[in-house]
Symmetry: C2
Subunit: 286 residues, 2 copies
């Protein structure tokens, strides 16, 4: 029984007769191949990445498992359509808080066609990408009895100050409130050996070295769940994943300095929150 994924916070959604990904509820995520070059590019990336022997095992676990392609009835009712079959990143999470962070101060690549380049450049300058090295593409924050999930339009208008605040609000109780975020779950989600910071630092070390791929317009997806622990409130199952590979290029012996720079910027924000969860000076700087 396929249905739209409940916790998808960014990208095309399989609702209201539109084409979008679906999940089977048993751990698989079906992403329709986009009809222009993007679909073919993403499939090429997954195929190449899957068989690439130079990817360390630990790094591989940051990427969705790839199970091939499958023809499925498209969610827009247009008939059979090829889908990438990927592991569902939210499988096993009951009430995940999720944030999608598009990494890189630019989303266009040097060889991009002129119209695509102009479109990306305008978005990078208008959003926080150029300034912060990343932008938020979507999020939801769940707590026991409330949820905060800003609309696409709200997300598009986030400025640098909003981003500072949202990275704190993402790990706060009472996320739907407009009060100053309390960062109650900062150390449990961002800190520790399996926390977000530790995982981002692993990714960073790989990006300092790898020259295989350049990840334009890709995202770091962070998810955690408050369910399943003793007091029902302690966050667990912190997941950091890379997603959206429609614009991955061959690295040609050069590191992905654009992604790496943005990743380091995100790491710095997360570090600052961990060092001083009560201090709001970061969000006041801009």
């Amino acid at each position: 029984m396929l249905k739209p994924p409940e916790h998808q916070v960014a990208g095309h959604q399989a609702r209201d007769g539109r084409l979008g990904p679906v999940v089977d509820g048993s751990g698989l995520f079906y992403k329709p191949l986009q009809s222009d070059d993007r679909g073919a590019n993403e499939l090429t990336f997954y195929t190449s990445f899957s068989s690439e022997p130079r990817i360390p095992t630990r790094i591989r676990s940051f990427f969705p498992g790839f199970q091939g392609t499958q023809l499925l009835h498209a969610s827009d009712g247009s008939g059979l359509h090829p889908h990438l079959v990927l592991d569902d990143l939210f499988a096993g999470l009951r009430l995940p808080s999720v944030i999608d962070l598009k990494i890189g101060s630019r989303t266009w690549f040097p060889s991009a066609p002129e119209d695509y380049f102009r479109k990306c450049l305008a978005k990078d300058r208008k959003s926080t990408s150029a300034l912060l090295g990343f932008r938020i593409s979507g999020l939801q924050v769940n707590d026991e009895d409330c949820r905060w999930r800003p609309s696409h339009d709200e997300v598009r208008q986030f400025n640098a100050k909003d981003v500072f605040r949202i990275l704190r609000r993402f790990v706060s109780s009472d996320p739907a409130s407009d009060c100053e975020p309390n960062c109650a779950f900062a150390s449990a989600v961002y800190g520790g050996a399996e926390g977000v910071l530790a995982q981002l630092l692993e990714l960073k070390a790989w990006f300092e070295d790898q020259t295989l791929f350049h990840f334009y317009s890709a995202s770091v997806l962070v998810a955690y769940d408050k369910d399943g622990s003793q007091d029902g409130r302690r966050p667990n199952r912190v997941r950091v994943r890379l997603v959206d590979f429609a614009h991955v290029l061959d690295g040609n012996g050069v590191i992905d300095h654009n992604f790496l720079g943005g990743l380091c910027s995100l790491i710095k924000f997360i570090s600052n929150i961990l060092k001083d969860p009560d201090n709001i000076s970061n969000s006041n700087a801009l």
Copy 2:
């Protein structure tokens, strides 16, 4: 007795009646304040940096010492003109090899005026900045009895493959030759505790953390001398410096992800040469 600096490889030159920097031959370098905002910006940076207590001593040594300003007769004959008084980075070097590397995949800053933004963007796309995260702004390679110093026009046309090759040629004997670079001095210049790589890694660690300044359009200058050693050929006095601060902005609590990304890209190239000086596969990748 002021005269144009002999080893300046990039920027405006005080020759043929033009305005440019001069040196006194006793360790000081006089840089005329540019007449638009750039001059004022650079002075503001040096003043602010000099009195900034959060700069570690080791990091300070990567910057030219700032000795204030002085009114001097301009090299273009236009009369008295304010100059920055800086330490001459090449003092004590007899026959330096020098390369000026403009760091960052973009040289424009988010708040840049539209015409400046367009000019920078065009240069970043045309040069190797967007692709590699840095570009060569000028260089000279000296050996005992030959020198290679490409013209401004040649430098402007360097592509990614040229840059790979030049970073090897910069540490090769017989630099004027068109033969495959032999990287004879790679380990002496790039390697070791005081070599280029070690110094770049120190800078990198600082850039991962510092949120005080954003260095748009600034350069890493690398210089070494083959003079003064026992056999007259062993390079020594390897210097790595940051220069050109006309477009430094307040970091506002954000790391300089643009500079950091480009710096990491350069570091990767230098590491590759050190790991495998004979291997030309890097330069063949592109």
